[in-house]
């Protein structure tokens, strides 16, 4: 019934109104999309694709296959029971001899992750293979180095035959493939990452808790004071927020070092003796203190904006009805402020978990977090697969948290002062 009535209404151009409206709706939709498109594409190319590209590195194992294609093809025929045949030795021999030194170097670094010793073996062999003119190659290679007769080395190649590997992810949680491609734990002295993951979570949770403990009271104060005072005090929260991260870190170095302001004040006021100065710098304590101060504004801003909306009448009503101030706070004010607590805590935790600069500068050896290991493998060991795997796990954790945050708080409600 309605359809015919709506259909019968025509616009001045003689098109049914419904069609015309739909068209206008569609045009508006396209207009909205066109406005967002430039930034979306920009973020896609400068940000999302680079990160995706890095994540691919965490499973990529194709390089070695480009250096030893024939060897790996021959390798698949090997029964893994006895030493390989002359044929496999021969292909290996020629691929090592004929490859560029650079390619062998890069491939041997990868092979060293599977079995340490490969790198030196290949380096030595590459030099000596030049003198060998004709076969049989097996005996001559073994004569150069006994390792060529070691089954362990040959078996270890099996881990790398596929173009993708889960090896870096295993390394990132202190596991590894043994030469038979079984998952085993790393040797005792090489287990570092599980410990670091735990520490990263521990530091982030502690920073979150401290931020809440420090941030809740001042947010309460700010939201109940008259505007002219609270605006003034708000500057104390916003100024650190606007001050360079490095400047704040330097400031804390001045405060906390052995001869720093804090220790000097304690010594001057005779609370501690000159030789018992606190070690507050270059350890986990420093990381936690400095990160708490740096992230505190991210806790205060969402808390403050929620507390602003809690009417003081609720508390007055509760007190009027005979609740003690503490009871009224716990039963009335606190539940009303929960959205602010969750927003602040999640934001602080999300930002804390990936911190790099502050732990690097003030954390010393003991205060390093997972971000620092990512940087270390990127810059120092050049084990990019491992840093990508560590990054991918961190990013996975963050994506879940970010998703929850979006559901709980709504991403558009982030407060920036």
């Amino acid at each position: 019934m309605n359809e015919t009535t709506a259909g019968s209404i025509l616009t001045t151009e003689g098109i049914p109104l419904k069609v015309s409206l739909q068209k206008a709706e569609r045009r508006n939709k396209i207009r909205a999309i066109l406005l967002v498109a430039p930034l979306l594409l920009f973020i896609l190319f400068t940000f999302l694709i680079p990160i995706g590209d890095m994540l691919l590195r965490s499973v990529d194992d194709s390089y070695i296959n480009t250096v030893f294609p024939k060897t790996f093809k021959e390798y698949k025929k090997w029964d893994r029971q006895d030493l390989p045949s002359e044929e496999l030795y021969k292909t290996m021999f020629f691929e090592v001899k004929d490859s560029e030194g650079y390619a062998i170097g890069k491939a041997s670094t990868r092979m060293n992750y599977a079995k340490s010793g490969w790198k030196s073996l290949l380096k030595k062999s590459k030099r000596k293979f030049k003198k060998i003119e004709e076969g049989p190659y097996k005996e001559q290679m073994i004569a150069i180095d006994k390792k060529w007769a070691d089954m362990e080395y040959w078996k270890a190649l099996g881990v790398m035959v596929d173009a993708t590997t889960a090896g870096y992810y295993l390394n990132a949680v202190d596991l590894k493939y043994n030469v038979d491609k079984e998952v085993v734990r790393q040797k005792e002295n090489r287990r570092i990452y599980n410990h670091t993951w735990v520490k990263t979570f521990k530091v982030s949770i502690l920073v979150m808790i401290f931020c809440l403990m420090l941030g809740y009271p001042i947010s309460y104060l700010l939201s109940t004071l008259p505007l002219k005072y609270s605006n003034l005090l708000m500057i104390c929260v916003l100024l650190p927020f606007w001050t360079s991260l490095l400047v704040r870190t330097v400031a804390w170095m001045v405060m906390l070092q052995q001869k720093g302001v804090f220790n000097n004040l304690l010594v001057m006021s005779n609370i501690i003796a000159d030789e018992n100065r606190f070690k507050l710098m270059y350890n986990e304590t420093a990381t936690i203190i400095v990160m708490t101060q740096i992230l505190l504004p991210f806790m205060v801003l969402p808390l403050y904006s929620v507390m602003k909306t809690i009417s003081p009448n609720y508390m007055r009503a509760a007190l009027n009805l005979g609740a003690s101030p503490l009871h009224a706070f716990w039963k009335i004010y606190m539940p009303n402020s929960v959205p602010g607590i969750s927003a602040g805590c999640m934001l602080v935790f999300i930002l804390a978990i990936g911190y790099y600069i502050t732990p690097e500068l003030v954390g010393g050896k003991d205060g390093q977090m997972i971000g620092n290991w990512i940087a270390y493998h990127l810059k120092t060991t050049l084990n990019w697969g491992l840093s990508a795997a560590l990054g991918a796990i961190l990013l996975g954790v963050l994506t879940v948290l970010y998703w929850v945050y979006n559901k709980l708080v709504g991403i558009e409600n982030i407060k920036l002062g």
Binding site: P38, P217, L246, P297, M315, Y356, I357
Partner: protein, 294 residues
């Protein structure tokens, strides 16, 4: 909520304890920043308050580190004075200002689209656009380092500007969308019905109203770029020194008090920016308040 006159002694004690605690927290937030200001005028090469310095003895106070910062060697000073700091300042401003312009333009336009009623997948797109703020810088830098080197953008100013633009846009999107909530769309209709085209409507009606948000977003984008060091280290070349990169190098290697001088300058800059943003925010609230009254 001040203390009522009928409060009991216990409540009074509790209230003052609470105020003291808050005072300490504010002190914790603000004190470290102000500790470095006097120290930058010390003549000591270490980051510490010496007894002479505390007693205001003239020789303990000096501007020598400031002179070194701007590249003027003092007489008899054996340190080789380079003007790395000035070079860094120049680079920081070039990169920061370019990235700010790009981020503001892209972010404002996108925020206009996101605030439209008929934007599909609003939540998902918003989450993607804000993600550069959430993803740890070390992961962003690693990704950019690999990808930008593939397409030849590493060690270029363009690469750094694009990277910093990506990091700055979330702030612009957030501040401009915030200004646009409660924006009266009837104003656009009024403008169009009076014969203004889209461009004229944008510049004469929308822009003046969202300008405070746009400027705050721009300032956020600027400070983000100005303060950023990890991406610069990975994507930039050794010669591409910026202020934070030079500070980082200074902290890791030589620990020279020049860092404190630069830090003091940066604090002054952040005070200036904060004041601007606060004034703008109030102006924006006032503008929207007037609109509501009509």
């Amino acid at each position: 909520m001040a203390l009522p006159s009928y409060a009991t002694t216990g409540q009074r004690v509790g209230w003052y304890a609470f105020l003291t605690y808050c005072g300490l927290v504010f002190f914790f937030l603000i004190a470290p920043i102000f500790v470095i200001l006097p120290l930058s005028f010390s003549s000591s090469p270490f980051f510490e308050f010496t007894r002479e310095f505390m007693n205001f003895e003239p020789e303990a106070w000096s501007l020598r580190w400031y002179r070194q910062m701007v590249g003027i060697a003092s007489v008899g000073d054996t340190t080789v004075v380079s003007n790395k700091w000035m070079l860094g300042t120049r680079n920081s401003f070039i990169i920061g200002i370019s990235a700010t312009f790009l981020a503001t333009a892209l972010g404002t336009v996108a925020a206009l689209g996101l605030s439209r009623r008929n934007m599909p997948f609003k939540g998902t797109i918003m989450a993607i656009l804000i993600s550069p703020m959430i993803v740890p810088l070390i992961i962003t830098s690693a990704g950019m380092f690999f990808f930008y080197s593939k397409i030849g953008l590493t060690h270029t100013y363009l690469g750094l500007i694009l990277a910093h633009t990506a990091l700055g846009t979330p702030f612009v999107v957030i501040t401009v969308t915030a200004t646009l909530t409660g924006f009266d769309t009837n104003l656009i209709r009024a403008s169009q019905s009076l014969g203004a085209d889209t461009m004229r409507t944008f510049f004469k009606v929308i822009m003046p109203l969202i300008l405070p948000g746009v400027i705050s977003g721009a300032l956020f984008a600027f400070i983000t770029s100005f303060d950023e060091v990890v991406v610069v280290m990975f994507v930039g070349s050794v010669e591409q020194i910026t202020i934070p990169k030079q500070m980082w190098a200074g902290l890791r290697q030589e620990t020279s008090p020049v860092i404190l001088c630069m830090a003091t300058c940066l604090v002054a800059l952040s005070i200036a920016l904060l004041t601007t943003v606060e004034l703008l925010r109030r102006r924006s609230e006032r503008l929207r308040g007037i609109k509501l009254r009509n």
